[in-house]
Amino acid sequence: MTEARELPVIDPQSYGAVCAVVDGCLTCGDVAVPVTVVEEGEPDAICSDDHGTRGSVGVELVAPVRVGERLLIHGGVAISRLQVEGQQYGGEEAAASATARQQYGGEEAVASATAEHLRQKK
């Protein structure tokens, strides 16, 4: 039986820790990663990505942040806050307008809202 190997320890001081994305350009493009604040702080807060990886995030551009808030980060810096309520929406009659009103951090599943919308359209 092989011995269980220890997982590598991720340095929580590293700003890159939560920037690693599964696919897409992980570095410089228009990709950004949604994370959750787990330790408040300024200029750096500790955040966790959706896979549980923690790391430092520069939050000057969206500060102050609170534990549990969802941020969108790029290059180790939070560039936007994921909105929980009151979505803006420019389109009037898009078929699946519900998708745009949902958010990564919201409770309702987008699919059900959108499917309902489509049913009503029919």
Binding site: Q13, S14, Y15, G16, A17, C19, A20, D23, G24, C25, L26, T27, C28, G29, D30, V31, A32, P34, P43, D50, S56, G58, E60, L61, V62, L72, H74, G75, G76, V77, I79, S80, L82, Q83, Q87, Q88, Y89, G90, G91, E93, A94, A95, A96, S97, T99, A100, R101, Q102, Q103, Y104, G105, G106, A109, V110, A111, T114, A115, L118
Partner: protein, 373 residues
């Protein structure tokens, strides 16, 4: 995975595809450019084109920061990286971009201290930990990435970290869009706007597209349903005879962007008089350089760089791909001499590059479609 699966529901994608098809006038060919390389990646990875009628063509735009860096700028970076006592840092994809005399990865193999980082803040940390070394960050990216470089420079200045500098290659999104709109090569019907650039700059900078060129633009998210919905919104505008800036990505993008990020950008950077874009040539006021207050952290002022313009390899057609004039597979060296493992052109390097995205995902869809017919 929650908040991802919902945006990848194939039934909803089919429903949207049907509604898009209903809006497309038979006999009319629609050309819609997705500006952003992230969108190109999503389109190929998820087979978005399979949900669109044949007369809607998605054209790939210049929004991949690695792809638009000209070879001369890569050589400038390598010249700095080869200097003794320098730790040269950059984003991962940048290391593989070929310059006139090899890539940063080649320089690393030959002994230069080149390290990749996910964040410029990590480069600053390396500078703090190595006070006897010169740490240089090779900054690339559009307005999405520029704020992280700006914040890093502000921290370096506040902490008085003198052994850190930035070689700035940040570019801006609006000038290349104008160049494309003015180009006679390409007649487009509408644009899918970049989502995360717009979290910073907002939607207002795109207002000239409907106002001056009469074309719709919809700022879009990066999941498959985001893109399909954006195409639907564009088709609806075209069907209604409207041209407006619309925001499909309302869960992230504010119409006015992030004012604090814009403030930081204006403090740290100023516009370059001109900058060379691969494939698009020199475009005036299309890139950023450090403002005089940050001149002490400007790597181009601190180190001598060759600053020589290097022509692209003759076989490489990245320029045409970046302008959307040809598709990746129409390039002479696509998939043969030029692959992600041995890229000749930049579009094959970054996963956001149209060639790499098509090589990794699209070619299978195309070959299976051919096999089915």
């Amino acid at each position: 995975m929650k908040y991802v699966d919902e945006f990848r529901d194939v039934e909803l994608a089919r429903a949207l595809g049907t509604q898009i098809a209903a809006l497309a006038e038979p006999g009319r060919h629609y050309k819609v450019m997705e500006v952003c390389g992230g969108h190109t990646h999503t389109i190929y990875k998820h087979g978005i084109e399979a949900h669109l009628p044949e007369n809607i063509e998605l054209v790939h735009g210049p929004g991949c920061p690695v792809c638009v860096i000209p070879m001369g700028r890569v050589d400038d970076g390598i010249a700095i990286a080869r200097r003794p006592n320098v730790i040269f840092t950059c984003f991962g994809d940048m290391m593989r971009v070929p310059g006139g005399g090899g890539s940063l990865l080649d320089a690393k193999a030959e002994g230069a201290d080149v390290r990749f980082v996910y964040s410029p803040l990590d480069a600053l940390r390396i500078a703090r930990e190595n006070p006897d070394k010169e740490v240089v960050f090779y900054a690339i990216g559009f307005e999405t990435t520029a704020p992280s470089t700006a914040l890093t420079l502000m921290r370096a200045r506040a902490e008085g970290i003198g052994n850190f500098s930035v070689m700035c290659n940040h570019v801006t999104i609006v000038p290349p869009l104008k160049a494309l709109l003015d180009s006679p090569d390409l007649r487009l019907d509408a644009f899918i706007g970049p989502g995360h650039v717009s979290t910073v700059v907002g939607c207002r900078p795109y207002e000239f597209i409907p106002a001056d060129y009469g074309q719709p633009i919809v700022v879009a998210g990066f999941e498959p349903l985001d893109l399909l919905q954006s195409v639907f919104m564009i088709m609806k505008q075209l069907a209604d005879g409207r041209s407006e800036v619309e925001n499909q990505y309302g869960r992230v993008v504010e119409y006015d962007g992030n004012p604090r990020a814009l403030q930081v950008l204006s403090e740290v950077f100023e516009l370059r008089p001109y900058f060379e874009w691969r494939g698009l040539g020199f475009i005036s006021q299309s890139a950023l350089q450090l403002a005089p207050a940050y001149a002490d952290w400007d790597a181009e002022l601190r180190f001598d760089v060759p600053g020589v313009r290097v022509a692209d390899p003759k076989a490489c057609q990245c320029g045409e791909v970046l302008k959307g004039v040809i598709k990746p597979w129409e390039c002479k060296v696509f998939g043969t001499a030029c692959t992600p493992e041995t890229p000749i052109g930049t579009c094959m390097v970054s996963s956001e590059g149209a060639c790499a995205a098509y090589y990794n995902f699209g070619r299978f869809a195309k070959s299976s479609a051919r096999a089915a017919t």
